[in-house]
Amino acid sequence: MRKLLAMVIAALAILVFLFSFSFRNEGKKAAEVIIRGSGSTFLQPQLEAWIQGFLKDFKNVSIEYQGVGSGAGQEQFFKRLTDFCGSDPPLSRQTWERYRGKVLQLPIILGAVAVVYNVPELKDRCLKLDGRVLALIYLGRIEYWDDPMMRELNPGLDLPHRRITAVHRSDASGTTQIFTTFLHEAAPDLWPSDLVGKTVNWPVDGKGRGVGGKGNPGVVAALKSTEYSVGYVELEYAYREALPVAAIKNRDGNFVLPSVEAIQEAAKNALPDLPEDPSEDFSSELQAIVYAPGNGSYSITAFSHVFIRTTYSKEKTWVVREFIRWICERGSGYVVEGYVPVPEEIRNIDLRALDLVRSG
């Protein structure tokens, strides 16, 4: 009996000790201020790199980010489980209207989707593709690599008479949304708007020539093990896996490979169609940057965003502001391979947010 009592008391003591952490946390001075964010898995490596850099410069603060997916990130952000949200797509118009004036959307980094292929005959020679041909491939209407339309785009290449396997994502993903938006923008008569989204019922699957892969690694694995296949992945994976990347015909008719300059040029050319203020509606932003005009723009490009609130508690306001400022001013020194920093003009939009965040 006495032993039991001692154990109960010990347990209570530990419990009190554990809870003392949470009080210290909410208490007045010195203790760490913690900012939590969650969302896009695409953004995670870049944000982690920024967070670690930021934490080196600032003591007594901490930032946590969890890659749970853009959708989950938004849900947790609006349920106030987190302080900021990493999201690939901007807010939809309805959501933006519901939270109008309370949320700021900051285009924080650029990413691109690369069209990759596995055709042994081509070795290192670069394939040229355009939106119409890609749409026809994913519709299942172009069946062979040596289709007349393919030969017209690639006059110098010796294309084999082999069936094309079209690889796509099997899970809901922003990559799919960007890619299908491009197909729709570039070939609206072929690729209808109800085939645009995070998950799509791929027509090519119905012809038995489509293959799904889970996540970017799944697509890469499927592509590598299936000869004569074509697929789309985040640029970073194309680099890391040394996959051949196709040049894509842009709005001005040039075939462009995804390079830092080409991606930034697309962002700059999208600027006229973007709002100037981060509190405004960005919902049509993807249509502006995908298949953007400009001589050297890469067509399958998109922003990733950080959403913040307009009001925070006093300590958090400071940290959020400093973090955003740090990303804009010093973040470009910490950019991870495969990501592209936003051009100066976009950074100015983000810096404008600093004035809009108030404590209260």
């Binding site: 009996m1 039991l4 347990a11 530990i14 419990l15 554990l18 809870f19 003392s20 952490f21 949470s22 009080f23 210290r24 946390n25 760490e32 913690i34 939590r36 995670q44 490596p45 982690e48 790199a49 967070i51 670690q52 934490l55 901490s62 930032i63 946590e64 969890q66 890659g67 349920k79 106030r80 489980l81 970017n216 690694p217 994976y237 890391r240 991870v336 391979e337």
Partner: protein
């Protein structure tokens, strides 16, 4: 003549039977070996891959915070280790009294409706997919509280743990011989006294087993934590009503990323997790012969 042929027949038959018997033995041994092969393979893989990680990271692997995805620096699993310890503690605090009192109740008042229902419910609870318990805790604890927390995780883990520890405690309390019970009452002890000072002592092995099973579950389960604890990487601990990390969750999350350093950390964490599990298991085996999980 007939005699000879029937004897031959019998010999042939017995030969067939002996061959069958030998064949059976061979199949039995092969299948039994095959049954254990995965266990050794799992342990060996974890020792091999996790061993490299731990060798590279050294002791600081247990203390440091996790690396950034593309860094060459290994970092560590400190926050997750702290988080797991907190979770185990909170889970036992929540689950132990619950399962013990419920066990006492069903043994002492077996003919009441509540006792019968409790017994039935606990039996079926071991079969409930643990991810649903995570969903339950998300709906009932995380959303009303407004944030992920160690508490929400502990609630989920306690719900997973209770049926297991309850079963052991109930069985050991119920198996106290009638004579002992009568002896206790004949001393003039009231029921609460008899339960707490006599029966509990007699059944202490079973009770300890229940606690240890709870520890093992709380340390090793992943699915109940998916939507409840939130995870923590750059800080160690901010209180039980704040998000924490946990080793199993860290393994699950890191293993599914494409980054090499994260996978290395996942294997290292797996080695730590299996070590913790083995310690609990060895203690368990010392207290009780058979362990059912």
């Amino acid at each position: 003549m007939r005699d000879v042929s029937s004897r031959r027949e019998a010999e042939r038959l017995s030969l067939v039977r002996r061959i069958k018997d030998k064949l059976f033995l061979v199949i039995l041994v092969v299948l039994s070996m095959a049954a254990f092969l995965p266990l050794f393979h799992i342990v060996a893989s974890i020792l091999y891959y996790g061993g490299w990680t731990l060798l590279r990271g050294g002791l600081s692997f247990l203390v440091d915070t996790p690396p950034s995805p593309l860094s060459s620096n290994l970092g560590g699993i400190g926050p997750a280790l702290v988080g797991s310890a907190v979770l185990v503690f909170l889970t036992v605090i929540l689950g132990l009294p619950l399962s013990f009192m419920a066990a006492v109740f069903t043994v002492e008042y077996p003919n009441t409706l509540v006792a019968r229902v409790t017994k039935l419910v606990c039996r079926s609870f071991t079969e409930i997919p643990t991810v649903l318990i995570g969903v339950l805790s998300y709906t009932l604890v995380v959303i009303p509280m407004g944030r992920f927390s160690a508490l929400a995780g502990a609630v989920a883990l306690a719900i997973v743990m209770v049926p297991y520890s309850y079963t052991y405690m109930e069985e050991s309390l119920a198996s106290i011989p009638r004579t002992y019970r009568e002896a206790a009452y004949s001393l003039g002890l009231t029921r609460p006294r008899a339960v707490f000072s006599v029966f509990t002592r007699i059944a202490r092995r079973g009770i300890l087993t229940g606690v240890l099973i709870g520890l093992a579950k709380a340390a090793g389960e992943t699915a109940p934590l998916l939507f409840t604890i939130g995870g923590l990487r750059h800080a160690y601990f901010n209180g039980p009503d704040h998000p924490v990390g946990a080793i199993p969750l860290l393994i699950y999350e890191f293993a599914l990323t494409p980054y090499r350093v994260y996978r290395e950390v996942a294997w290292g964490a797996a080695l730590v997790l299996i070590a913790i599990y083995l310690v609990i298991f060895v203690v368990l085996r010392r207290t009780v012969r058979e362990v059912r999980m």
